[in-house]
Homo-oligomer: 385 residues x 4
Amino acid sequence: MKELSIGIVGYKFMGRAHSNGWKKAPLFFDLPFKPVLKAVCGRNEAALNEFARKWGWQETETSWRKMVERPDIDVIDIAAPQHLHYDIAIAAAKNGKHVFCEKPLAMSSAQAEEMLEACEQNRVHHFLNHNYRRVPAISLAKKLIDTKKIGQIYHWRCCYQQDWVMDPNFPLTWQLQQEFAQSGPQWDLNSHCVDMALYLIGKITAVSALTGHFITERPLAEEATSHNLKVRAKSIESGKVTVEDAALMMVRFENGAMGSFEATRFAMGRKNRLSFEIYGSSGAITFDLERMNELRYYSAEDDQDTKGFKTILATAESHKYMDHWWPEGHIIGYEHTFVHAMADFLTSLKEDEMISPNFTDGIQGLKVLEAGIRSAQTGNVISII
Amino acid sequence: MKELSIGIVGYKFMGRAHSNGWKKAPLFFDLPFKPVLKAVCGRNEAALNEFARKWGWQETETSWRKMVERPDIDVIDIAAPQHLHYDIAIAAAKNGKHVFCEKPLAMSSAQAEEMLEACEQNRVHHFLNHNYRRVPAISLAKKLIDTKKIGQIYHWRCCYQQDWVMDPNFPLTWQLQQEFAQSGPQWDLNSHCVDMALYLIGKITAVSALTGHFITERPLAEEATSHNLKVRAKSIESGKVTVEDAALMMVRFENGAMGSFEATRFAMGRKNRLSFEIYGSSGAITFDLERMNELRYYSAEDDQDTKGFKTILATAESHKYMDHWWPEGHIIGYEHTFVHAMADFLTSLKEDEMISPNFTDGIQGLKVLEAGIRSAQTGNVISII
Amino acid sequence: MKELSIGIVGYKFMGRAHSNGWKKAPLFFDLPFKPVLKAVCGRNEAALNEFARKWGWQETETSWRKMVERPDIDVIDIAAPQHLHYDIAIAAAKNGKHVFCEKPLAMSSAQAEEMLEACEQNRVHHFLNHNYRRVPAISLAKKLIDTKKIGQIYHWRCCYQQDWVMDPNFPLTWQLQQEFAQSGPQWDLNSHCVDMALYLIGKITAVSALTGHFITERPLAEEATSHNLKVRAKSIESGKVTVEDAALMMVRFENGAMGSFEATRFAMGRKNRLSFEIYGSSGAITFDLERMNELRYYSAEDDQDTKGFKTILATAESHKYMDHWWPEGHIIGYEHTFVHAMADFLTSLKEDEMISPNFTDGIQGLKVLEAGIRSAQTGNVISII
Amino acid sequence: MKELSIGIVGYKFMGRAHSNGWKKAPLFFDLPFKPVLKAVCGRNEAALNEFARKWGWQETETSWRKMVERPDIDVIDIAAPQHLHYDIAIAAAKNGKHVFCEKPLAMSSAQAEEMLEACEQNRVHHFLNHNYRRVPAISLAKKLIDTKKIGQIYHWRCCYQQDWVMDPNFPLTWQLQQEFAQSGPQWDLNSHCVDMALYLIGKITAVSALTGHFITERPLAEEATSHNLKVRAKSIESGKVTVEDAALMMVRFENGAMGSFEATRFAMGRKNRLSFEIYGSSGAITFDLERMNELRYYSAEDDQDTKGFKTILATAESHKYMDHWWPEGHIIGYEHTFVHAMADFLTSLKEDEMISPNFTDGIQGLKVLEAGIRSAQTGNVISII
């Protein structure tokens, strides 16, 4: 089997999740390429070496610029914070590498458009890892919508709630600084939600938004680190939080549906709750990521007496991806969505087909997020062309 | 409209629930008779008078023997503890009164058989108030079974869990003394569960059981009172608990199904949880009394992709009884089951039709409960003829 | 006991719910007044007489103007559609009657202000029946907030979802016409939600909104009737729907919290789902009216290992109102909230204390609803002074 | 790091789950040994080679006898059906190999005792893979019990429900034949449940049981294969089902608790539902394997107003094993329990400590299962010494 060499930038939360994906995909899926964990890139050499040893990355690099130029690498996997995506993706594309990029795609839709252009000009594949599209229950939701089980959609209602920064002593990590993150939950969480809405409902044409800024100053962090809950404050010095703590949006979709989004890091008790509800003329769907193996579905066509929301345990052979795992009823977890992404991406390379989500989808999503930020600043509805 | 005069024995928990039922039934149902709250009978005159005044009972009696002989009473409603049912029911029947009897029917199936005989000889109606048969969600369960939606039934799994006597200082009320109660949760709770099983699944032919006796001595109560959670211990004197604290049963049904029952007053955190599961060749049903407006239903005939347990909110017009209440989605409560019982009972008198459950059903139920007690004593499976 | 005579306007859905409340309150609560069902007012004499007979209203009136002038009536209960509230309430107040008014209070906050003024000038009590404030689980939510268990509140997230008009052949009842209803779910449903938010969170200072108009023409109804799901279309003639089908709002509260509201009649599968989530610095609360006996509560102060959302079955003696009903675990239903309202109202008359919600609360609520409508029209955030 | 060579017998469902465990354990845990996938043993050479290639097993063997004698293997992993465990385990022990054995341990407790003896005489480690002990939520349950949060335990109520053989045309696989499986759900499913009860509650002293035999003849299978739902019937020839379809038990524990078990393959709609409830004097716990990241916990010590069952998402750093995976709220799946088992096993080898469950635990479990079978045959309670 042909090998395909991966070079990854980043070795924290996403670096681990991606590494696990590259390793597991060939064990559970029949793939056209064998992914080779060629090189991992990061700044802290000791930590990087330890990571490479543990995960089996053959080599390490401390300069991503050098890595993207290596002739022995086929795919650049960007698992670094978003402020780095633009430079890395464009350099990778120019060097003829396919780009597998973690979300959010970029700091702006303008950046994203250049990234797309670079990929297209260099005829490389671009993939944007909104991994929740590859939850089997979400695949089922998509199928129900595509096969008209929900009918004309009237409502999309979505939230993404976390609580990891609620302690005022939680330090000023990079996620809380505009310079590195561009925005708070709007970029981090609503990027997922908007991608899901674009996937399941369709194009968004107008946005109003409201942002919340609850804790505006925090102790400095020991280092600008990854999404690592163990990070602790360094000292009594503090700095300004330059992103929002919460972002609400109301939207209109091109197909006439209305939608709402609530992304927050201040929902006490919610750890990673991406939840949505869809209501249409023939049925309804609800989902909660904290119970990601389940989809709830209501059909208006059931018998009068027995209408109700059904809890579908989406683990049957007939549910997308699940025939690759365990017998029905044996649930999968968060990390499996990465394995699905890697498997689909590798398969798509063979067939030379661009799969979704990719940079084109990412641009659409960023335009919605940007419209939200602008609306929150102006108090007006913002249209998206 | 013809009036029908009710005389009730008992004015505690069940006295209130029945009074409320008699008053509400004609407000929400079109009935052939107007129930008249003629007389209420009890021993404590002051409390009795207060109760009569509040609930509109026209007269009071302190002797049930006298009350059952009154020519101006048509129906005797027995809302007193079970050790009194036998005498009252037989006297009422002999005096030509219809008998509306609270569960459990009697202290033994032998008593119950005499009660039935007295009613039949005197051609009076007899009704046994296992009120949960008249929960709309249960009516739906029955309908699903009768219309073959569940298919051949393999499993019945039921529990009835409470925790109101777990405090060792809870006093020795009448419910904890064999003399008054005959048995503990086996009579009090499993009587409901067995009635439900006979209704939904069918005849039980064999029983094995296990009983638990966790707290065997308790402070004496101020008075042998009704199911009143405010009862407090009187003194440091104590007495023996002479009934079981928990009763488990495994059974075989005539139709080949297997079943299990768990009734306990020692399930910390459960207040009034009657829950059951039914599994058959074509579907499944589950129910929980603490969410009594809901039925969960799984159909093996749903599409492969969308099989799952559906939560049916049984409040639609098409659900039995619900067209008499509020618009769909506006839930009803515990007390409504009594209203349904009164409405059905009054309607059945007009049509001179014996409805269920009645004393015949009660005898079957008591035979199962007795077999359980015998099995727990002997360690053997007991057959029921 | 002193009697208090009630005159009610309306005998449909709300007429029944109120009548049941007046009858049940004295059975379950110790009240300072005995409510006498003196007169019921409506236009269709035959239906009115049948209603009066069934529910025990002593007399009928076909003119509410005449009824409010009767010297033998102490309280006017307005259970008619909102377009009538203004005239009736003011006339009642001028005749020295206390006013018990169903929600939504009026067609506008300007109307409501005049209604309040009339009551104050004539020193009569005014009560606005947002009955959900009197769900025991909601009383518990309020108590948790008031005792600082939730801490500083960051988020209010609320929806009220129904699906009763989704069929395009559902006729043009009065609820779908601005002339009678002023607005659609904004007035009907969001009035409840906003009242709840004002009660639990506090004053709202800014609103953005979006409305949806999904079905704009419908067959004419046989008569402009009450919220009656049995209503069927009369003919092939049709008319314009002049209210919105769905209304979304994002708000800011005076205390710094952010909020969102979604009220819709187009949420397939939802029958009467008022659901909300509250997140604060110390805890969280969620509620769903379709499971109205339950409150979900998360405490940030629980042990690290055992943090989680707790499902509290709010039926214990210690839960407000519940000591008047049944033993713990025996649930209550929708109609009980009316009984609580009647009991509290009667008690407040004796103590001559104005309880909430009343017309003052109603004015606040209407201002928020009006701001929402204005925002939906203009696309701007609207401030509330 | 020192290497440790594994030889595995079996390459079907359990072969995959174990292989995945051996590969993932060192990626997520710091282990004292690096497990080397040395050899995999099976009968079908083509399938075996394909499996070895995919999973990276260095060599294949078609004779387990030969494999257990190889000097270059340290651990024999038995992932084959139970009728083979006895021979393989004893041979492995005699050759000085540590034994990692899939459940159920053996065909009888007598076999198991010999297996234990062989291990002890040869001073090798023995581990029995009841993997559900290593679900983080179960670790939390154990901790709550051990720290007296539940108090004196009164009730254990457990079921393990599946539905994979309900179709009468499902063929006669090895799991349905006594010769290979010894028993049906009693061995397959109740072995898990009994292990869980021994772990969480304690020793079982008496058992009554009931078995169900619903479909007694089935088409022959193409081959006696593993737990593979894709298996299809070969022909119209049929054979006798020689194991039970369902097994119910009631038990007494040494500490005074009562328990019940229901294991069945005929619970329509349940795919892999191991669910249990524990009630004690201070609290309660419930668990459902289909939502294995959650534990429900009730504390009798909570404030009166806010008592309720809490849903704990057992994914925090403080929950056992979870600090090795993803940030809180990112759930894990079925396969992770195997990784935990491998990690614990490898760690225990270094420390030369026998961890649980092992063959000693397995003997206790088999004695309970055997008592159940005997009770079902005789109709009597069976004591366990």
